[in-house]
Symmetry: C2
C-alpha cells in the first residue's frame, strides 16, 4: 500500500504518476489512453463540480445535455474547428456486432451494419450544440441563451498522462448565445473570471489571466482567454479557457435572430471549459515527496481522527472511540468533513503515512494521556507541524486552522510562482533561465507567428498568454529584435 | 409557445411526445435516435440524481468513473452479456479524420488510422469494470467493493422515443463485489428497495417489486430484481433493475480473492441501474391534457408567484412585486423552490397556461384586492382547485400543501394502478382485459419459457415480474392449463 514515492527532484514525472496511483486517485485502464478515476480522485472532482456548478448557476446558467455523437457533416461545418480536431477524432462507423462465423465465442463487426454517415465522438460540442440552437433561437427574445453541460469528451492522444492528457476526459462546457458582440465578450470575460476565482480561492492555485496568441487560440474562436498556472517542476499548465467565438458558429450553422428593430443578424457566441485536468494541476501545485497535499476546500475529508488504540486495552479503547465520535460531531457542526479510523489491526505509524499520502489536511490523534489534559494532538499536512489542542471549542479552532492551511497553500504556491517568473531581455538569458530554473519567462515579442514558431522549435517554450494586466512598455523582441509594446509570458507547458 | 396538446384519450403517444417538447423537457437532435435534454428536463434529472446519489452514499457506495470504450476482446469475455448487447453496439473503428482529397472543405475517415482492435461504446459497463476490479481485488480485505458511476451509455435503437428509448441515455450503474453469495444477494435486494423507495416517495409513482423470468433477465445475471410501474395508458414501464450476477463476471475476468481462511474463491457481484427513462415514467404517471404534473419533490420550481401587474399602474406594480419578493423569501426559509414572474408583456391567462404546461405544483397570484385582505390566491396543479390563503404563516401552509400534493399524486396513481390490476383465470379473460382496460394482469403461469413466448406472440404482453409478495396459491396456467403455484404479472410494456 504505502510504497515509497520517488522524490520530485529525482523524477518529477515518475513522482506524479506514482502519486496518482498510490493515493488512489486514478489508474490506467484496459483501454489505451483512457483512465479510471478511482473513488478518492472522483470525490475531489465531485467537490470541484459542486462549487463550479454553483458559480455557473449564480451567473445565470442552466445545465442541459447534448448527444455524444456528432454526424460528420455537422462536424465539418465550421472549418477551422473541424480542422483543429480532425486528427484526434474517434469515429463510429458501425452499429452492430455479430458472432464470428469462424469462432462462435468471438464477435466481429457486422459489415452490413455500416452507418450511412460516420459519427464523431464529441471532442467538443460546438457543432452539435449550434445545430440545436438553430431551432431554439428565432428572436432577440430568445437571447441570451446561457447553457452549460457536464460531459465526457474524447480527443485521441498518442502520449497520455493521468488527468493531464487522456483520450477520454470529463469536463464542463458552457455554450452561450448573445444578441451583441459586446455582450458575448462580457460573458467570455465573466467566465474567465469565474475560473480564476475558482482556481485561486478553491484550488489555492494562483493563475495568470491572459489571452492566447493567434496560434494558440481555440480552433474556431476569435479570442481565447486562459488561466495559466505554474507547476512545481517549472512547467506551465493551461487550467481553463473561455472563448469569444464571434459569429463563426452562427454563420456555419446559419443561426440568425430577429433584432428588436426587426432586422436579421447572426448570433454572437462564447464557449468555456475546465476539465478533470484541474485535478492534475491541483496535485502538481501542492503535493510533496510524502504524497498528496490537498487544500481543505477540496479535500474529501478535511480531518482524520485517529484514536490511539491498544489491542490489549479494550475499556480504554472504548473511551477513546467515544471521545473521538464526540469530537467528530462537534467538527461536523462547523461543516467540516471528518473521518475516524478505528482499525486496530494497523499501527499508528502506518496510518500516519497513509493519510499523509492521501493528503488529509489535518490529522488528529486522540491518545489516553492527552485526553487526561483535555487535549488532542494535531498535525498539519502542509507544514507537518504538530501541536496540542484543547478540546473545548475545538470546532471553531479546527475550522480556523483549515482556513489558515487553505491560505498558506495559496501563498506558498504564489511565492513559488512569483520567484519563478523571470523578466529577460536577451534570447541567451531566455534559454538560460528556461534550462536552469524554468517557470514563466516574461519577454518582449514582436507579435508574429514566425517568431513564436522559431522560439518553440528552439526551446520547446510556447507563449502561454498575453497577460491581461500587461503594461505598455517599449521594448524589443527577445528573438527578432523588432520593436514590441508588451511583454508576454513564455514557458514550457503540459 | 402554448400550443394546445392532443389529449391522452385521442392519442397517448402523440400527447406524450408533444408534451415533452412543448414543456421544454427534451427534443430530438441532429443525431438519429439521440435526444437533447433541455434545461427544464435536465433540472428534473438533477433533482433525481441528487436524491439517488444521497441514498447510494448513505448505503455505503462511492462514485468513480470508468472509460466509455470497451475493447472488443473484453466486451466478448462474458458470453451471455456480450450476446445480449451485440446487436445494439456503436463501434469505433478509426481514430482520425483527414481532408477529402476530392473536396478540401470536407473530411473523410483516414483509412490509415484504423484501430487494431475495435472499441465498443459502452452499452453497460460490467466488462470494463470487472476487468478493472481484477487489479483491485486480491484479498477478502478488499471486499466489499461498493461503487457507482453516473454516465452516458449507448444502445443502438431503431425505434426511439424521447426519454423512454433513445440510443444514448444517461444513467447510473452500481457495480459491487462481495466475498459471499449471501452478501451479494442482500446488496442486490437493498438497491432494489432503494429504487422502490425513490420511485414511491420521490416520484410519487407506485411500483410493484418483483423479479424477472428467465427470458426477461439481464444478460449475464443469475437474478434480476425489477420495479414495475403502470402508465396512464395501461402499459407497464420497467423503471429500475438490480441484478445478482453470481460469479459470472468474476469467472469471465478471472477475479479471485484470498479468503480469510487462506483459500481462493471467485468474487460475487451485483449491478443495478436507473436512467433518464425515469423522467418518461414521471411524465406518463401524473401528467394530464393541460400538460405536465410534477410531484413537488422533483419539481425544479415548486411555486410560481405571479404578481397581477397592470402596465398602467406602476406604483401598484411596485407594491405587488415587493410583496411577492417578501413571500418568496418566506417560502425559501422552508426550503421551497420559488420563481417569480414579473413579465408585464404577457397576460395572466397566458402565464397560467404556461405554468400549467410546465407542471409547477402551486401557482400563487398576488393581486391588489386580495392583498388588501392580506391574502393571495393559490391554485393547485394536481386538482386545479383554487383557494385564498392568508399571508401570515404562508411558509408553513404552502409547505404543508406541497406535502399534501405529493401524497395526493401518489394515492391517485396507486388507485389507478390498483383498479388496473386484474386477476384473470382464463386466456379469454386475459385477452379481453388486455384489449379493453389494459394494465397489469395477474395470472397463473406454468413457469415455462415456451408458454411465455406464445402469450407474447399472441398478445404482445410479457411477464413484467414475479412479485416478491406473491402468495402461494394453487392454480392452473392461464394458457397451458398446467399446474401453477403462483400468480405473475403480465402487461404490455414500454
Amino acid at each position: 500500500m504505502s510504497k515509497k514515492l520517488p522524490t520530485r527532484s529525482e523524477d518529477f514525472s515518475l513522482w506524479y504518476n506514482e502519486l496518482v496511483k498510490n493515493a488512489g486517485l486514478a489508474d490506467n485502464s484496459g483501454v489505451r489512453g483512457c483512465m479510471v478515476i478511482k473513488p478518492y480522485g472522483f470525490a475531489i472532482w465531485e467537490l470541484m463540480k459542486e462549487q463550479l456548478d454553483k458559480m455557473f448557476k449564480e451567473t445565470g446558467h442552466q445545465n442541459a445535455y447534448f448527444p455524444i455523437f456528432v454526424p460528420k457533416s455537422l462536424f465539418e461545418a465550421e472549418e477551422k474547428n473541424a480542422e483543429g480536431f480532425a486528427k484526434e477524432c474517434a469515429v463510429v462507423t458501425h452499429y452492430r456486432l455479430k458472432t464470428d462465423p469462424e469462432d462462435k465465442s468471438k464477435l466481429i463487426v457486422d459489415p452490413e451494419a455500416k452507418l450511412e454517415e460516420e459519427l464523431i465522438v464529441r471532442p467538443t460540442s460546438e457543432a452539435i450544440i449550434w445545430n440545436t440552437y438553430k431551432g431554439w433561437i428565432q428572436s432577440y427574445r430568445d437571447l441570451p441563451l446561457l447553457i452549460n453541460q457536464w460531459a465526457n469528451v474524447v480527443r485521441w492522444e498518442m502520449r497520455t498522462r493521468l488527468f493531464l492528457r487522456t483520450s477520454e476526459f470529463l469536463w464542463q462546457e458552457g455554450h452561450t448565445a448573445h444578441a451583441t458582440k459586446q455582450e458575448a465578450i462580457v460573458e467570455a470575460k465573466q467566465m474567465h473570471d469565474v475560473y480564476a476565482h475558482f482556481a485561486e480561492n478553491w484550488m489555492a492555485m494562483p493563475v495568470i489571466k491572459g489571452f492566447k496568441s493567434d496560434s494558440e487560440r481555440f480552433a474556431g474562436a476569435d479570442d481565447t482567454f486562459t488561466i495559466e498556472a505554474l507547476m512545481q517542476d517549472g512547467k506551465a499548465l493551461q487550467a481553463g479557457t473561455s472563448h469569444f467565438l464571434g459569429q463563426n458558429f452562427a454563420k456555419a450553422f446559419d443561426v440568425e435572430f430577429q433584432t428588436a428593430e426587426g432586422g436579421k443578424e447572426h448570433v454572437w457566441a462564447t464557449s468555456w471549459g475546465v476539465s478533470t485536468r484541474l485535478i492534475g494541476g491541483l496535485i502538481m501545485t501542492h503535493s510533496d515527496d510524502e504524497g498528496l497535499v490537498l487544500p481543505p476546500k477540496l479535500a474529501p475529508y478535511q480531518v482524520v481522527i485517529i484514536p490511539f488504540l491498544n489491542k490489549k486495552k479494550e475499556e480504554q479503547n472504548e473511551l477513546l472511540i467515544s471521545k473521538s465520535n464526540e469530537i467528530k460531531a462537534e467538527l461536523e457542526k462547523f461543516g467540516i468533513r471528518v473521518q475516524i479510523d478505528t482499525d486496530v489491526t494497523k499501527r499508528p505509524g502506518f496510518k500516519f503515512a497513509e493519510y499523509e499520502l492521501k493528503g488529509y489536511p489535518v490529522r488528529m490523534v486522540v491518545g489516553p494521556r492527552d485526553l487526561e489534559n483535555n487535549q488532542v494532538e494535531i498535525a498539519r499536512r502542509d507544514t507537518k507541524e504538530k501541536s496540542l489542542q484543547n478540546i473545548d471549542g475545538i470546532g471553531a479552532s479546527i475550522n480556523e486552522l483549515l482556513n489558515t492551511i487553505q491560505n498558506n497553500l495559496f501563498n506558498k504556491a504564489k511565492s513559488y510562482r512569483d520567484t519563478h517568473t523571470t523578466e529577460v531581455s536577451t534570447f541567451e538569458e531566455f534559454k538560460s533561465v528556461l534550462d536552469t530554473k524554468g517557470g514563466f519567462i516574461s519577454a518582449h515579442w514582436d507579435g508574429t507567428e514566425a517568431t513564436e514558431e522559431q522560439i518553440k522549435d528552439l526551446t520547446k517554450a510556447t507563449i502561454r498568454c498575453i497577460p491581461l494586466d500587461a503594461e505598455n512598455e517599449e521594448g524589443t523582441c527577445v528573438f527578432s529584435g523588432k520593436p514590441s509594446q508588451k511583454r508576454v509570458l513564455f514557458a514550457k507547458a503540459y
